[in-house]
């Protein structure tokens, strides 16, 4: 399985297909992952924009665009509940599994990790390629389900049976898609772990690895060990749907007045346990790479070492371990007794501590800094309070009694969007602005970047803060009319308009980014040297690889010191790269 097919003979001409399509070069694969996942992010974003129209103006025809849709989804431009539920489920699925994970792990991990540890490539280049293409197929399966007669999956991204068992064919496609995506992640995880453990350059000890690499290491462990149970669950749900078993169906179900013709004896809660066994670690898969990116950029732009690097590493390892034993905090309201809920409340409170430590360390890293407010730094800085707000709103959810009024309300939606959108997405944008010159040899335009930053950071708060307010007022999530028919929701329902407008404004502010992203490939300011940010980590040292070239280092660099030796007293520059003796 450990094949690799480019041994220093860079001179032989590779065909276009081998070089850019079925490439085994981690940098090309990283870029493939990046472009594909950005596209999916855009798709997930568009689905959300449609939903937000319906939430702001329930039952009103969507002008212009509405007429493009079929009669079964939006007759005369008016969204049907079926379609709203599809959009919700697919927005969640696409954002999580096809947007953030492949961007944070597949793209950034692939491109940056081997460079940062001084490796020639990933340990298993062919496996790496397979991982991308399996992901790609999984994504196509997911998307194509929108064109099924009854549309895509509509039982939420959590796919709780019995609803998911009796839903239309879209759900089957969802399951097949998930099996591909899980397989892809597993292949990727094996590859990352082997690479990080085995291919570190001479002198790159564990304690000299950049925090980003640590974050990817822990993330890969989460993917490796948490994903398989969901694959098992997916197979079981496929059997329920296709073969007629009843793993998740109890006896005596009566659907629309008809006794369901199944053997029965199953348990709907079994799915929830298997699902959350994955999905809680999964949320840390969404946040850890983001924390890693932020740590890199904060160190670089404060021009000083990260405060408490070791403590952060210990925290991230502990976080990874704990994330396997908190899953049932998503299930307090399913009728859990006191013993189990006690256990899961304790573990949930415990797991919040390492997050507090990491965030505190990042905040403290700013003390004594010489702050450069570059675009990546702005995004990274915004991440800190935004993740903080998201994390803090996790606390009332993690305590069972306070979860009673909040469970399955907009408060939960607000909580996790604060962590994934102004949290992770801003961090990923930071990473794009930071590493773009590495991949292309050109900088992204700064003024456009700053417009993108302020527009995104501000409008996101106008989308997600009102969700917390609505949630506290008791408004349920996944409501096709946003709660308009409920009396108790009347005081807070008007926020739906604010949020939707903010969401479209957010969309507008992505335009400078998309323009910048493509324009700069050809027209951006060229970097003067390999190290435009005056950084210390290995990816910025002279490599044989000009943008998009094949191969990484002429000879493996030797590492002499820790990753963040900035402003070392007595050194002639304010950065002391890892590979300088």
């Amino acid at each position: 399985m450990s094949d690799h097919d480019h041994d220093g003979h860079a001179h032989h001409q590779e065909s276009f297909v081998r070089k850019y399509i079925f490439s085994t070069d981690h940098k090309v694969i990283g870029i493939q992952y990046g472009l594909t996942s950005l596209l999916f992010l855009l798709i997930g974003f568009s689905l959300m924009m449609l939903m937000r129209w319906q939430l702001a103006f329930p039952g009103e025809a969507l002008p212009l665009i509405g007429s493009l849709f079929s009669d079964s989804t939006m007759p005369d431009g008016v969204m049907q509940p079926e379609f709203y539920n599809q959009l919700g489920a697919m927005h969640g699925t696409i954002m999580v599994f096809l947007g953030i994970v492949p961007l944070a792990v597949g793209a950034f991990g692939n491109y940056i990790v081997p460079l940062q540890i001084g490796a020639p490539d990933m340990a298993f280049p062919k496996l790496n390629m397979a991982s991308y293409w399996v992901f790609f197929v999984g994504g196509l399966i997911m998307l194509s389900s929108f064109w099924l007669p009854a549309g895509a999956a509509k039982a939420g991204w959590t796919s709780y049976p019995p609803l998911a068992d009796i839903e239309t064919t879209g759900q089957t496609m969802w399951l097949f898609g998930m099996i591909f995506l899980i397989t892809s992640s597993l292949l990727g995880a094996v590859n990352f772990l082997t690479t990080i453990i085995q291919l570190r350059a001479p002198g790159m000890t564990l304690w000299r690895m950049p925090f980003f690499v640590w974050a990817q290491l822990v993330t890969s462990f989460l993917l490796l060990l948490a994903f398989p149970p969901l694959e098992a669950a997916g197979v079981l749900q496929l059997f329920d749907r296709l073969v007629g078993t009843s793993f998740f169906l109890p006896s005596g179900l009566v659907v629309s007045g008809e006794l369901l013709d199944v053997a029965g004896g199953g348990s709907p809660l079994l799915w929830q346990h298997l699902f959350w066994f994955l999905a809680h670690p999964e949320v840390y898969v969404l946040i850890l790479p983001a924390m890693g990116i932020v740590a890199e950029i904060v160190a670089n732009n404060t021009r000083k070492p990260l405060w408490g690097y070791r403590v952060m590493v210990y925290s991230v390892i502990f976080l990874g371990f704990m994330s396997f034993i908190v899953w049932a905090h998503h299930m307090f309201i399913t009728g859990m007794g006191t013993a189990l809920s006690g256990f899961f409340q304790i573990t949930t409170m415990i797991i919040s501590i390492p997050s507090v430590i990491i965030l505190s360390a990042l905040f403290l890293s700013l003390w004594g800094a010489s702050l450069r407010f570059t675009t990546p730094m702005l995004f990274a800085l915004a991440f800190l309070p935004m993740f903080g707000l998201g994390g803090l709103t996790g606390l009332p959810l993690g305590l069972a009694p306070t979860d009673i009024p909040l469970h399955d309300t907009m408060y939960v939606i607000g909580h996790f969007h604060y962590v994934v959108a102004p949290g992770t997405i801003l961090a990923l944008f930071a990473g794009i602005y930071y590493w773009y010159p590495k991949a292309t040899g050109r900088m992204l335009n700064e003024p456009l970047g700053k417009i993108h930053f302020w527009g995104s950071a501000i409008s996101m708060n106008f989308i997600f803060f009102p969700m917390l307010i609505q949630g506290l007022a008791g408004v349920s999530r996944r409501l096709y009319d946003g709660g308009a028919s409920y009396e108790f929701a009347q005081d807070v329902i008007h926020y739906n308009e604010t949020m939707s407008i903010a969401a479209w404004v957010l969309g507008l502010f992505q335009l400078p980014f998309i323009f910048n992203f493509f324009w700069s490939i050809w027209k951006g300011k060229k970097v003067e040297n390999d190290n435009p940010w005056d950084a210390t980590t290995l990816e910025w040292t002279a490599t044989t690889s000009p943008p998009l070239g094949h191969g990484n280092f002429e000879t493996a660099p030797t590492v002499y010191r820790g990753p963040y030796e900035y402003s070392v007293p007595g050194h002639d520059t304010d950065f002391y790269p890892q590979d300088q003796p």
């Binding site: 509940p81 079926e82 539920n85 019995p162 169906l249 109890p250 005596g252 179900l253 009566v254 659907v255 629309s256 007045g257 709907p268 000083k304 309201i333 399913t334 009728g335 006191t338 809920s341 006690g342 409170m349 501590i353 507090v356 505190s360 360390a361 905040f363 700013l366 004594g368 800094a369 010489s370 309070p385 803090l392 709103t393 606390l395 009332p396 305590l399 009694p401 306070t402 009673i404 009024p405 469970h407 399955d408 506290l472 007022a473 008791g474 408004v475 349920s476 996944r478 409501l479 096709y480 709660g483 028919s485 409920y486 009396e487 108790f488 005081d491 807070v492 900035y566 402003s567 007293p569």
Partner: protein, 254 residues
Amino acid sequence: MREFLDISQFLGMPGRASAHAADIDFMMSLVHWLMLFLFIGWGAYFIYVLFRFRASKNPTASYEGADGKYSKYQEVAVILAEATLLIGFAFPLWGFIKNDFPAAQDAPYTVNVVAEQFAWNVHYPGDDGVFGKRAPELIDAVRNPLGLDMTDAAAADDVVSVNELHLPVDRPVIINLSSKDVIHSFGVPQLRVKQDAIPGLVIPIWFRPTVEGEYEIACAQLCGLSHYRMRGFVTVESEDAVSAFLTEMSGGGL
């Protein structure tokens, strides 16, 4: 003190209509105080640092950086606060809600609630206080939505209503919650009650309504197309009014 700390109004939580609601709100307030302290503390620090350590003002960074003493205090404080919340509030309150069911001498008012796509069926035991037998085979969407077995003597005086749950004020209530088809969630914001209705299980919940009025039951778990309008009503009223309602329901049916 307690009144002072209770910021549930400020948080925009709906009015309270059950006995344990104040406890939940108080706990909610405490958690939000903790959040507020952390947010304001770190937020103020953050803004200060951004100004004080900008490159134009502080051209050379310090290699040593901050002294971590205060952050350690903060972490210990957070741990203590979370431990207090768990031990002092979360465990007792959850235990009370889950385990301290009213005993027989408290004369709890017991009803069955059976969720279905997309309605809340309520099954009252009638005067004899005994629920009639039910069987899934007997369910008829129109005439017998609960599958009540009419050959059972106990079933004769049972009352079934749809989306209308009438409860006596100031008397403990036990609801046996179940579902016919998919997972629903019985949520009543003002009562601070929420419980998933899981097919295959019959989950008892209890609370004591304290304020008369009509409250909405909002289904909180995605259950299909019309999840958004799976709305029922809880009417909390005097004992007499409940009896009158039940008489009307059973009389009207014949």
